[in-house]
Amino acid sequence: MKQQAQHTPPFTEGINRVDGIMKVTGAAKYSAEYELPGMTYAVFAISNITKGIITSIDIKAAERAPGVLAVLTHLNAPKVPGYESGKDPSKPPTTGGPLKFFVDNTVKYNGQPIAMVVADSFERATYAASLIKAQYKKEQHETDTEKNKFKAAAPKGGRNGGDYKRGTPDDWKTAAVKVEQEYVVPINVHNPMELSVTLAHWTADDKVTVYAKTQGVKSTQNAIAQAFKLPVENVQVTTKFVGGAFGNALRTWPHEIATVQAAKLVKRPVKTVLTRELQFNTVGYRPYTWQKVSMGASADGKLTGIIHEATAQTSSFEEFTEGTVNMTRFMYACPSVGTVYKITPLDVNTPTWMRGPGEATGAFALESAMDELADKLGIDPIELRIRNHADTDPENGKPFSSKNLKEAYEMGADKIGWSKRKLKPGTLTEDGWLIGYGMGTGVFGAGRGRATVKAALLDSGTLLIQTSVTDIGVGTGTAMTQIASEIFTGIPVKKIKFELGDSSLPPSPTQGGSTITSTVGGAVHDACTQLKEKFQQLIGNGGTDKPDYVKVLKEKNLPQLEVTVTSSGSTEMRNFSSYSYSVHFVKVKVHPKTGVVRVDNVVSVADSGHIVSPKTARSQIIGGAIGGIGMALMEEGIMDHRYGRYVNNNYADYHVPISADIPQIDALFVNKPDYRVNPMGAKGMGEIALIGMSAAVANAVYNATGKRIRELPITPDKLLA
């Protein structure tokens, strides 16, 4: 393929976060902060049963409460036209569909909205919602994945259905050294600081403006246009800043449609901000997943067979699947691999992708099992991985577009002081604490999708770049500015303006799945390159590296010079397997008497091509490592299955790491460009920052204590058991 090695910029510090000052001074305006004249506020009344039928619902007191404009229930809600169309109710779609609020009297999970109150203040809406009383006919519910594993079946649709097999996976059974273990990742809830927000305002009978917390303004625009049967361009969606999302704003949820519906009814702007409690069962979560890994190796540590099985929860009405077992197919050079993925429907809301998504769940099992195998073989866990390093993709035989995993192992091991690690667990102490070192590998696909970018040189000297992408906090605006500044070296960074988060701008994909730097960055690169060429044509031959753009545009009497470019990855990419890799190294301290675990040091190494924006990349790696520490040591959405209700749906009881839990974290980058993926040579890193981290922590805990905890989170009680 054409090598696009235009430039290999040196690994510099990079520019500062372009919106950093706005964020720390409060000038950044988040979706919930928009105020429109005549604003109203919506609050949901929710079901306290888990499964059944609403036999009656009394909204009279709520309707009479001060400030209330409307109360929507299944009995009176105006129709959502898109909800009516197409599907024959007697033939449900094979893979189900999203829940629709207020269309019938069924309750499908505990906490499901059964009514929506719109009032002139949030407080009044909250009070009125508390006055709504429903009677139910209860049915027996099931919310426990463990108890319902026997019902699990292969998904009917989606990308993750179907068993995989190469060679004779059962070979693990006759191997010299074997591991056969079960692992559990419980429900994790995204819990970003920013709550789910939808502000809808109908500006005409067939036009609606929406300020939403979404990871993709175009996908929200499309969902609303479909639901209300509007021309897409009649729906305006704006998301200028996002206060963390981690996947829970990847899709358009039914409460968002309900907000648009309510705004149509009351003919005023309606704002819905979910409570923290409702975040737990309204906008998805990482599903509870049981896994079993069976692996065997020869006495010299060569893998002979792996079987990786997983069963995860989904809702009763919709299949959710993710790539939990997929990594096992290509991660190591093993001749025989089998994977089995099943889901079991429960009376819960549908799970969704949470950072790292299924791969993070799968990597906990695979990378824990690899550690167990190394321990049984009596060899260093890095050595085991090197002995089974896949030089080409074992799943499809293709070469990797680039892979520097061995170098990443080396960099991380050096930095954390891996040589201090003892093979025999429980043998290292510092000040009365047990010390352990562990590592885990992460991997995630590194592709490039399609995006359209408009780039314009203005006669004010500004380079304006526009595309619809949202920045969920990772620093997309900064990375795109960096890419543009390396092409237009003559334009100072402060004169480069990257506009995003607006559905009327040229389309970019939803931010998720570690694709944006590659996809949108590639398009920004191409647009800027073409704009530069257009400018060169304008001035003819000659010129300098740093032309006076303002002077030229004024001379030519042009207010601006612009290009709009749609670009995507090359078809030759199909000949390669392309992944980003991470290796996480963790040093933990475990108190021998109380079982308390403290993470003492973290080194995360990313092999994700050229690092476009070093400062925001570093932040992204640190954020992922912290997420991984949370997943390993504290995060668990706990449900009382007798009631089907969460018992820790708040920030005090659902633990995420706080500052005192976080040690020094070093983010290292191999920083070798992969120009096969895009002209910057960059690959994504949002997911790999977390994938493999929970195994690294668990492996370090084992190294410290000799106790292998296979059910996350690793809390002190489990270490004392």
Binding site: K593, R598, M634, Y643, H655, I658, A660, T715
Partner: protein, 329 residues
Amino acid sequence: MKQFQYIRPATQQSVLDAITKPGARILAGGSNLIDLMKRGVTSPDKLVDIQKLPLKGISKSTGNVSSISIGALELNSAVAENKLIKEEFPLLSMALNAGASPQLRNMATVGGNMMQRTRCTYFYDTAMPCNKREPNSGCGAMEGINRMHAIFGTSEKCIAVHPSDMCVALAALDASVEVKSKKGTRYIPFTEFHRLPGETPQLDNTLTTGELITRVIIPHNNFAKNSYYLKVRDRASYAFALISVAVGLDIQGGNIKEARLAMGGVAHKPWRLKAAEQFLKGKPATVANFEQAASLAMQGAKSFGHNDFKLKMAPASIIEALSNAAKLS
């Protein structure tokens, strides 16, 4: 939220006049009461904000037995950082700093900390049964999710724990609570301030309607040099105790002259370990003695499933806290 009256009287007398009926609740820092009102757990008719009362100040009095008095409206953070407290009762300072988060400690008062209610999830969720919130509705925790729950002094009605760290230290320090009402002033020994659930888990403490906490008084002791507050929790800050242990030892020539021990996260009230204290009195400060004290302390413990681990974590924590206080490690 239902409508309620809010008043902010300027004098103690007008506060006492305003709280004579059970529907009135005193508001200090509000870090727990406001949450309970938002969740619909508590719905007072009247909030009596006492922030205007002169109930601040930490002072030392020298009489027959010297003592330190802490005003009920002193902030948790101010007490924790107070020089007198750090010198005389470092145990209290340690316990306060182990509680909540800096933001909460900057709002929460000493009196309010004592009045905070259990964090039992069934108590907070009005859709669940809870005898403490709604007498005779049943206990959701007994056969439910009870990892955080009590192992001592439980009843058929309630297995909730008192969530405070500060109170565990004050129980160990033999503090007393000054309480005023229209009838006058009375002093409640700290260990008798909170109560066990018994048949009436809706009652957290022994205050009666119309009473206002005005001060906490801690008598002088010789534990300053050998004090330790150990808190075992799921994360390093902003988490309630799985187990906590407050220790004060008066060690002279290697022997324990007096010992004070209390545990948190194990009962409906700060749990004094009198049998262990008695055992340690006059004995050398050795791990062997601490182990025996811990096993005495655990007599009568009973767990409920998810909290079985506390039967192991509690004695281990007692030994660890004693060893730290005695500076053995």
